[in-house]
Symmetry: C2
Amino acid sequence: MAENKKLTLKDIARALNISVSTASRALKAHPDISDETIRTVKEYAEKHNYVPNALAINFRKSRTFTIGLIVPELVHHFFSTVISGAIDAAKKMGYSVLVSQSNDVLQDEITACRTMLASSVDGLLISISNETVEGNHILEFIHEGKPVIQFDKITDQLQTPKVIVDDFEGAYQAVKHLIETGYDKIAHLRGRREVKNAMERALGYEKALKDFHKEFHEDWVKECKLINEQEGYDFAKALMESQNPPNAIFCITDLVALGAINYLKEAGIKIPQEVGIMGFSNWKLAEIVNPSLSSVDQHGYQIGEKAAEMLIEKIQNQDVSSHETVELKTNLVLRESTNLSQK
Amino acid sequence: MAENKKLTLKDIARALNISVSTASRALKAHPDISDETIRTVKEYAEKHNYVPNALAINFRKSRTFTIGLIVPELVHHFFSTVISGAIDAAKKMGYSVLVSQSNDVLQDEITACRTMLASSVDGLLISISNETVEGNHILEFIHEGKPVIQFDKITDQLQTPKVIVDDFEGAYQAVKHLIETGYDKIAHLRGRREVKNAMERALGYEKALKDFHKEFHEDWVKECKLINEQEGYDFAKALMESQNPPNAIFCITDLVALGAINYLKEAGIKIPQEVGIMGFSNWKLAEIVNPSLSSVDQHGYQIGEKAAEMLIEKIQNQDVSSHETVELKTNLVLRESTNLSQK
DNA sequence: CTGTTAGCGCGTTCAT
DNA sequence: ATGAACGCGCTAACAG
């Protein structure tokens, strides 16, 4: 079956009647070694299909060329896109990626961190769970000299480099576009105040209204707790049935927007003529839903790429103390749920 | 900064004035060691937060408690669901998961395999790319005594255990349901003949028609090459504009079904009254699309779980030669795109 | 240019 | 019940 017995340096050395260290150096073309020896050793290694024992190397150098990646949810368009970008970038730099999920449960996140630490990843990429506040489990990496980079869902409590999307600007542009295409009564289905991304989007929304001198009402801002379709539906209903219904709704997320769309369709309210709907995240569903949904694209793939690149750089420079923040720009993807042209 | 200097057995031994081997044995409560020593050592280890060096252990035992997982595409509802299941199951059994994607490109798959082999995973979970035929790169794992399990997209060319969904039965049930709810002219947008899953679904479709004595026409079976929305749209159009249009379409995948739905809506053909649409895979979009799509659920999470469990079992039993196939049942999820009740 | 030696942290004989 | 010694495979400091 398994013709294991992997060839080791020792075998090569014995076969060629040289010392193990010479063999080792020859294989990496060390300048001290004569060209001839190098050739001989390399030929022999090639011929007998020598594969260095990665475990021994890892042990010796105490690093694994593996990075950890923890997200709240794996089955999620945005996060799987980020993962995809991170894996591709890591691969290019010779690293593998250990993936885990926290299910937005702090305890699971802690466990995942421990496991990653135990499997000796060289660094960590993490988007924290909703429950995470202090993050000692994450600091442990830093203590062990392993860089950590936060992305998307971050906390400023932890001094690490961060890769995020400019939520404020994304929201601002989205609302600005709504205004420019003729909507003047714009509501916002926001997320919880404790979540940074949600806060930023809400601030961008407010700023745009202010800059363009549009109405702002507390009543037009509804706080979603679960960020799901049902909430979108319910709040859209509440808004439209209120005294002073808006003519556009800017939603914290596409899923919430979907719920809003469903309500509007059910109520026979025309999209985008009577009410415009703007989502955020540009998930697959934005293309699929009917009418298709205008949304703010977050470039998940690039976030993953950038974060992985930064992390690996830090690893290679043994830099565990810097904490710059990279903010990637979003861009607006216009579809049928909002007016297209200027009014 | 980094107060590294991790505690080693040697440190403990020196501190407690015992030998390294005693310390080692005490920590795992070896029967030879006196209870008192055990207690002392454990206490000391606890107090000073001793963490065994995983790298050293891996090296010594030449295994890593890590499994590899390669899928064609990461940003894909079904595969991310499988990954989720695999990671959760692996975690329960004390394993981590290294994830990679092939993009359905053979060369990428080969690279991914090499990387995984180099990072010394203990076993491999793989859903092969469309381009994969022989799979020597996968056999290498077996040669090294590392079990491999194929799932979903598999090839019988490789003698490994497999975890798949019963595509034949799933398709059969789906078509049977269409028949039982009144459709008698059922078309099928199938996948390529070279792809096993596609073949099974097509066979299930044919068998159901035969068993219930329904019309079968070559013209009603269209082969999708790309399995995308556009093909669904185009083929649905072709079918409906033909001499003998069907009154139901069974689609190889939800995405194709989406295209078909879009065409029918555009053409003003009523779903499900005039034409019923059945998808396959039960992706997120099936719930979201309008009308929502009846589909065959593949239980991706369970596939991932089962595959990971089996793999880890094989690893633990050093079983690299068995090749049983586990076939999980699908189940039909009925929504608005098909008739509900018996006619 | 090449070989010798030592050691990474741990587990495992083999002694005692 | 405990310790000494060895080795996993590889690298690197130190000789020559």
